[in-house]
Amino acid sequence: MKLELKNITHRLGLNSFSYNTTITNDITGIYGPSGAGKTTLLNCIAGIEKPLSGSIVFNDKTLFHHDEGINTPVNKRNLGVVFQDNYLFPHLTILQNLNYSKPYIKNRTRYIDFDKVVSLLGIEDLLTKKPNQLSGGEKQRVAIGRTLLSQPELLLFDEPFSNLDRRKRKQIISYLLKINHQFKIPLLIISHDLEDILKLTNHLLIINNGCIEAAGDYLNISEEGHVPDIICHKRYINIFEAYCSGFDVHEKQVSFSASPSSHNKLHLSQSTSMLQNNIQLGQRIRLCLHPDDIALANNRVEGVSIQNQLKGRITQIISSRGSHYVTVDCGFVLVAEVTQAAVKTLQLELGQTVYCLIKAKAIEVVHSYIS
Amino acid sequence: FVSCSTKENKNTLRIYAASGTRVPCETICTQYELNQGLTVDRNYASSGILAKQIENGADADLFISASKEWIDYLLRKNKLVDSTITLLAENRLAIITSINNTDFKIDYNTSFNINSITPERMAIGDPQYVPVGMYAKAVLDSLNWYAALNQKIIMTKDVTSVLHLVEMNECDWGIVYYTEALQSKKVKIVSEIPTSLHPPILFYMAEVKKDTNKALPLLHFFASIEGERIFAFHGYSAVTNKTYLARNTH
């Protein structure tokens, strides 16, 4: 997929916006403070706002070109938008809302199945209700379902999970990863929850003051130091993929490695959610781990509750506003966050061999791919 | 529903009659229908509306007008067969008051204090456009009463409104056609106005210009003794010379 925004400018009241970027990642997270211009960016792509200049091209299809006078109507753009405020049709039942796009998708490939979406979102019992009879989270789920069922070619999600509980978020994120994987439907997602975004993707657009302040892999972005706000406690996450490499029935543990041949192994408790379905040897999963959940040690440490001690080599040390991020290649490339004091005590240096101490509980399974 | 053609029924006559003549007209037309086995469609409205309808192509055969003006108007528009213009009947004016009021006496001369019998207001048709009002105004003017009554005059849009106002005793008295006054049980006639005080009140009838003359018999029936009798029954006076000399008026 390729979504190119060239010199897009726009103005709303006194706020000006300018967007200039090319998005090639299948899933891209949009992150930035409230009022930064995230929704406006999505509106420009969707055609809800008509920019003052520039062009937007999606996979060779010109959606908008100011100079050439092209402005593809919204309904011909085949985009699926989940609005920040839902905008369910109040006069229609939930079922009618979900089926709203049915007449318009006759000649499009249908990759989203009604029953599957409805049961995933847990909205089976709501179908005969009207939107004003739903709770906040129920509305949000219906809005996601309505959008998915329009079988769009590009998904634009604006804070789709803000009123959902963790469990539902997790299920939906996993589902989005699945359809993205299976059908290659690209997704742009705005969220204030960096964790939600990062579970889906490492690729970010950082929006601030109406501009794209940074774009790219979130590690690089933070390295460049443009966006102090996103690098704060708990906001920085290692997301990586691993292959199931063994079971320890006795300790109820499953082990994972970066590649089938790697020696370094991560041990997870079998009870970790998303692992409960029968996992198979060699199966791929997506894991998530906070940098401050990784402690570093010069040697293997005995007698602690920490189960995973991976040996690796320091490949990078980044310092930013008093925080220190140490990238360790231990089969998986992991970033650990340590204090100034720790850097000094352990005399951390590039190329040095260290042990990453990771509590099994700190690792979260985001998605397990079906092989 | 668009093509409710009015042409299909050859056995129908259409008479457009001023609404004041409704009661005798109904009797005459019903009788004619029975005699001739025809249908007579009756359209009652004010003479002005009827004239404009005829001018604009209404499929009328006969026109009964409460004033000469509209006859002249249609003549100028070349809509009437001028040889058929007939004076149908003559009417008189009457001063009426509510049945509950005490009688009062009126002297038809300029020295009579008309305000003495008009504590609040009296009603006439609007002399600008309502025929009965024009005649009433002529009467009041000739006796210098119109100015004397000043703002006590309520002008209505037709004769029945005068009748209603007097019936409800909203007006102390009113001037209406003698024929209307007869019909209402809630008013009484105080006095009949001498016809010398106003131009003659004449009702006209004419045939609308058309290919056929099939309506002529009905016109003649209106002008016949029988027609005259029916008009007289409802209070109209007979007109001795029924021919109307159109060209004389210009």
């Binding site: 969707a46 055609g47 809800i48 109507p73 919204v74 309904n75 753009r77 085949n78 985009l79 699926g80 938008v81 609005f83 405020d85 905008y87 049709f89 109040p90 006069h91 229609l92 709203y100 796009s101 007449p103 318009y104 998708i105 009207k130 939107p131 004003n132 309505r146 959008t147 329009s150 | 529903f1 668009v2 093509s3 409710c4 053609s5 009015t6 259409r14 609404s19 409704r22 009661v23 469609d41 009756r42 359209n43 009652y44 409205a45 509306i49 404009k52 309808q53 001018e55 604009n56 192509g57 209404a58 499929d59 029945t160 009748l163 019936e167 209307e180 019909q183 209402s184 049980k185 809630k186």
Partner: protein, 227 residues
Amino acid sequence: MFTSTELDIIWLTIKVALVSTAVSLPISVLLGWIFARKNITCKPLLEGLVALPLVAPPVVTGYLLLLLLGRNGWIGRWLDQTLDIQLAFNFAALVIASVVVSLPLAVRTIRSAFELVDPVYEKASHTLGASKRSTFFRVTLPMAMPGIVSGMILSFARSLGEFGATITLAGNIIGKTQTLSLMVYANMQVPDKEMEVARLVIISLLISLAAIIASEYLKRRNSYLSK
């Protein structure tokens, strides 16, 4: 209870009211929508034209219609000569008079209902693949339902009470173009018929009440706001 003539008149009146409501509905929805959402150049002119039958006495409206649609009228002559269609002094005339006279009421009401529908729902509809047309019928129109229904009720009731334009354009031809309200008028013209007038007015009122009750049902079925 009713004479057969009366029954005919009642039936004619209902027919006229229904047909003219049905005719005025699409026109007033279209105009109401244009006035509420479009910024066309000749809008004030068009607005004035629609408002005319409200501002001028109905008799004048009827007269104007007669000038246009009568057999010698600008449109009427052409219709008569080329298509053999007459629009005055018949059922069509009754309907046309009603439609023209009630249009300003329906347009206004429907327009203000459209103005109260938030356009974001239309945008949401577009993103789901619906064209402007489709969106109008599936979102804007049903969301403005209370206003549409009100407009229809006004049209219907106005039709029932229509007198001035009707008597001018359609005539007051007994058994043919005489509706309840013309009959009421006729009875008003004759002394001592107050009871008859009252009776007929009550019949009209009952008909309109039936329409109001039907409309309430329609609205309730479509209601979507929180209780």
